[in-house]
């Protein structure tokens, strides 16, 4: 198993990540997720989204999730890339990619990583709208999705 884990201001070359994920020809399936800033949230136009994190802890948590995914499924490669800083509507925020011999493991692992990242990795979003700034609240559906793996 090999993996790439990054937390950075910049985005990444998605085509290069997909090429890397699929490089091992034992890989029959590659699943990836991209999350991006929506134009609207809670009926307000989003002007900007600022992502803060707790650097010492973030990689710790994400590495732990990668280890858990490797233990649960026969995976070949994993990529997690999460941005921080100020982003605009349409900007990508997170890339999670997984390769495996078969699609069931790749789909499960990618979704597991996203569900757990959403509730365990120390990132926080602050939105700027025409009404000013607001920190986003955690969503109970994200808690439910994360708990569904336990």
């Amino acid at each position: 198993m090999a993996n790439r884990l990054n937390v950075a201001h910049h985005w990444l070359d998605v085509a290069e990540q997909l090429a890397w994920l699929s490089e091992d020809s034992a890989a029959g399936a590659v699943v990836n997720f991209i999350g991006q800033v929506r134009r609207q949230n809670l009926d307000d136009d989003v002007a900007a989204l600022t992502l803060e994190h707790y650097p010492a802890m973030t990689k710790h948590v994400l590495n732990g999730l990668i280890e858990q995914a490797e233990q649960r499924w026969p995976l070949i490669r994993i990529v997690i890339h999460h941005r921080v800083g100020t982003l605009r509507p349409g900007d990508p925020i997170v890339f999670v990619g997984v390769s495996s011999a078969h699609r069931d493991a790749a789909f499960d692992a990618a979704r597991f990583l996203m569900d757990k990242l959403k509730t365990q990795a120390p990132f926080w979003k602050k939105e700027t709208t025409s009404d000013g700034e607001r920190w986003l609240d955690a969503r109970s559906c994200d808690e439910d999705a994360a708990a569904s793996w336990d």
């Binding site: 999350g35 992502l51 803060e52 994190h53 707790y54 010492a56 802890m57 710790h60 948590v61 999460h82 925020i93 997170v94 996203m114 990242l117 959403k118 509730t119 365990q120 990795a121 120390p122 990132f123 926080w124 979003k125 602050k126 920190w135 986003l136 609240d137 955690a138």
Partner: protein
Amino acid sequence: MNVLLFASLREAVGQETLAVDIALPCRVEALKQHIADQHPSIATAQSNQALLVAVNQMIVGNEHQVEEGDEVAFFPPVTGG
């Protein structure tokens, strides 16, 4: 000891780090109560169950024992991804 604050808690308190005068070791619950007594915004977060505590970069429960030299952080529920 120092407690790191993040996101809405950091903004509500107006500081990135809180210097806390408490005897160690102590339970997380006692540390939370100690800080909440001095900072209303921490008390509010605590009563809303919107306060998470990490010790040495791991989220821990109220029973966890904080030792000398631990890195302690308070923050709201996470919202990344």
